[in-house]
Amino acid sequence: MNQTVEQVDRYIRQRYKAGFYTDIESDRVPAGLNEEIIAMISAKKEEPEWLLEWRLKAFHHWQTMVGPNWAMLKLPAIDFQKIHYYAAPKQQDRPKSLDEVDPKLLETFDKLGVPLHERARLAGVAVDAVFDSVSVGTTFQKELAEAGVIFCSFSEAVKDHPELVREYLGSVVPYTDNYFAALNSAVFSDGSFVYIPENTRCPMELSTYFRINARDTGQFERTLIIAEPGSEVSYLEGCTAPMRDENQLHAAVVELVARKQARIKYSTVQNWYPGDENGKGGIYNFVTKRGDCREDDARISWTQVETGSAITWKYPSCILRGDRSAGEFYSVALTHNHQQADTGTKMIHLGKNTTSKIISKGISAGKSNNSYRGLVRVARRADNARNYTQCDSLLIGKTCGAHTFPYIESANPTATIEHEATTSRVGEDQLFYCRSRGLDEENAVAMIVDGFCKEVFKELPMEFAVEAKALLEISLEGAVG
């Protein structure tokens, strides 16, 4: 068993592969948070007056709020005045095509395995690449436009589709929602905008890759996906950051709107820099993600694989407003060294015959703490609502923690809610069985963890599932005992 501990430790110490830094000249606003800075960001993005007003309202509200203290996290004090809220690679004008994008940027995304150029055609995934505070390029826009799909950066959407942005921005996550959502609403920079017209199945997977590069900055992206009646889209999200000793803040907001019979599948492989083995550095990942099944028979599915970030505070949720609407949440969260994660979901059943399913797998190693926090709420009118929740935790090592906080609130006698949770370690008997079949210890551990996470991985699009599996193996190398 000791041999396994050492092996896994060695495996985990493997360097964070996305931890490089791209030396590129950047344009950034001064550090600090005030009305002038917000006006400066808005001006840089050439935004309309109404959006600046909205930002300022959010800022004024944020000033009245205090940060959340209820999560099972040791949250260090963040000096919001020391952060640069906007940083972008220096360039004359926004490139009109990928050919005009700074080769250094393309090289960066190539190194990260994100195909923006010719390889993108082979991968068949449309990508929006966000570098610090701006989108540097979006692929397949023309092909998508032929199908009526809008896939562009948020800034472009504000300029080209202001009516859609104005109608839906903040309609799922209002700026009053929580501390970090208010902050994001005040200072958000870029992100992705997706609009799928009625009865349209998006012809390809859409993907956004977020990269934090500049020092002393935060990333505050905003993503908005609107699926009109009868439409369908699968959206993938990935993220990385350089290895630094300082912590950096990532406070994003994602809003999904699914109308009648629309389907949105949102997958995330989160690989922000988690900090070193002593807990130094890493990204604070404080994200508000929420989907609104606004009309009947809508369906929203969240799948997340969380391996990065020093601290994760994230609860992708579904508001099941339409009758027969369905929400799903599949999650694998792995923490190691000094990482902390408090993550889970909220399923709010408002419509009749709504269903939700939650499968959460937490893996804790090193000195980390990993918490599942979930809410299933059945409102009085949500007749025949149905929820099934399963959250399992795997402990690897004696100094980590795995916690489960499921809130269940039912106000309808016809609802059926089931919740199950287990916590256990990687069993010696399981390892012994695998080894007696000829697997070495490393592969045995990988196989057990893979089996533990299988229910979630099968929900990911294939390319992401392969990436997620590899990422998990790398993150776990050296941790199991």
Binding site: L395, T399, F405, P406, A411, N412, I417
Partner: protein, 399 residues
């Protein structure tokens, strides 16, 4: 000062040998304040009903101890004061005042533990009961208030089982008044001792807040079976600390909540060291516009390897207006453990109802049979036959 502090506290600290303890408790309470729904441990339980009560002191005839259909030794505490004749107790049971030094070391934390501090500041008569040896009959602890009682009382009882002792404790909480009962009960189960504890409570309009703290030594065994028949506002905290290897506990409960009633059970089982076991099963039935709250926490501390724990909570909503809020929590800081919990919220099974009705039962009888079956399961674990039958009879009466 909050409404509650104005109603429940007095500038004058009670003048007795516990003066310093009371003064500190009152200062802590003033510092933290009373909980509100922003306090996590009181998220689903509002104290508005208590705020609106006018607590009026008055002279009342003490209540009689409720009758029970089995032989027992009696400790009857009415409005916080011992009424029964302690000289009739067997030699294995002794009674003494609670030790002020021990009270001085107590810590009820912040706002979530406000009623613990309040009890410490205002308790009427602190009693310590020591049980030594094996009791031949159950010890009945009857906590009552006089009829018409509309004041606040703060019973405080410590019960200690010495090493190797064994006892059955039957606790009966009842009040026909409209005041506040704010009880604190400390149980200490010594090495290899065993305590079977049955708690039965049925309240009308009274507000009943009770905190039960249980500390288990090595090899100690604690079994609690509780039946709560509901009340206008009931809050029960059960905290069990498994302090040494070999300690184990089982906590079972059924809670019946009717119209205009609110019952909140918060349980916490702390596996402080390894080699400890716990099992917990709670069932709630909410009818009318009643609200049931259950929060069950299992905490396995760092280093408490080889701890095993299972928690299960099942809930039935019996009407359109009823509500259930339930939260089974796991907090695990050790590796070689198994911990699990399950929670369900649902309604009476229509197929089972149909089956029973097809056998000639009326709709009401069929529903009652199913409700009884659901609520009786946790009570079946009571070890003493007579106590078990008594609990099941109470269940039948209260359903």
């Amino acid at each position: 000062m909050s409404v509650l502090a104005e109603n429940l506290l007095s500038d004058a600290v009670l003048a007795d040998s516990y003066g310093a303890v009371r003064k500190r408790a009152q200062a802590e309470l003033m510092r933290h304040g009373f909980p509100d729904i922003k306090t996590e441990a009181w998220k689903y339980t509002s104290l508005r009903a208590l705020e609106k009560r006018s607590l009026v002191p008055g002279e009342h005839q003490p209540a009689s101890p409720p009758p029970v259909p089995f032989d027992h030794h009696l400790l009857h505490i009415d409005a916080g004061r011992l009424l029964s004749d302690s000289s009739s107790l067997p030699s294995g049971i002794s009674i003494e005042p609670v030790d002020s030094n021990r009270l001085a070391g107590l810590d009820y934390g912040n706002r979530g533990g406000a009623f613990g501090w309040l009890n410490l500041a205002r308790f009427e008569q602190g009693l310590k009961v020591v049980i030594n040896g094996r009791l031949d009959q159950p010890l009945m602890l009857a906590l009552t208030t006089p009829d018409g009682h509309a004041d606040a009382c703060h019973p405080r009882i410590e019960i200690e089982l010495t090493a190797g002792s064994r006892a059955c404790l039957v606790q009966l909480d009842s009040s026909n008044g409209s005041g506040l009962v704010n009880a604190v009960i400390d149980l200490k189960v010594g090495e290899n001792a065993r305590l079977d504890h049955a708690l039965s409570r049925h309240n009308g309009d009274a507000i009943w807040i009770e905190r039960l703290d249980v500390a288990l030594a090595a090899g100690a065994d604690y079994r609690l079976v509780t039946l709560d028949g509901g009340g206008r506002l009931t809050r029960q905290d059960i905290n069990v600390a498994l302090n040494a290897s070999g300690a184990r506990c089982e906590v079972d409960g059924s809670v019946l909540i009717g119209a205009r009633q609110h019952v909140d059970f918060h349980t916490a089982i702390d596996h402080c060291v390894g080699g400890t076991n716990s099992r917990e099963r709670f069932r709630m039935l909410a009818d009318g516009n009643g609200v049931g709250v259950f929060n069950g926490r299992i905490h396995i501390h760092p280093g408490a390897d080889d701890s095993h724990s299972d928690l299960n909570t099942g809930n039935l909503l019996l009407s359109e207006q009823a509500r259930i809020n339930t939260k089974p929590e796991l907090e695990i800081h050790a590796e070689e453990v198994t911990a699990s919990h399950g929670a369900t919220v649902g309604q009476l099974d229509e197929q089972a109802l149909f089956y029973l009705r097809s056998r000639g039962l009326s709709a009401e009888a069929a529903a009652n049979l199913l409700k009884t079956g659901f609520a009786a399961a946790p009570l079946e674990t009571a070890v003493d036959d007579a106590v078990r039958q008594w609990l099941l009879a109470n269940l039948g009466d209260w359903l």
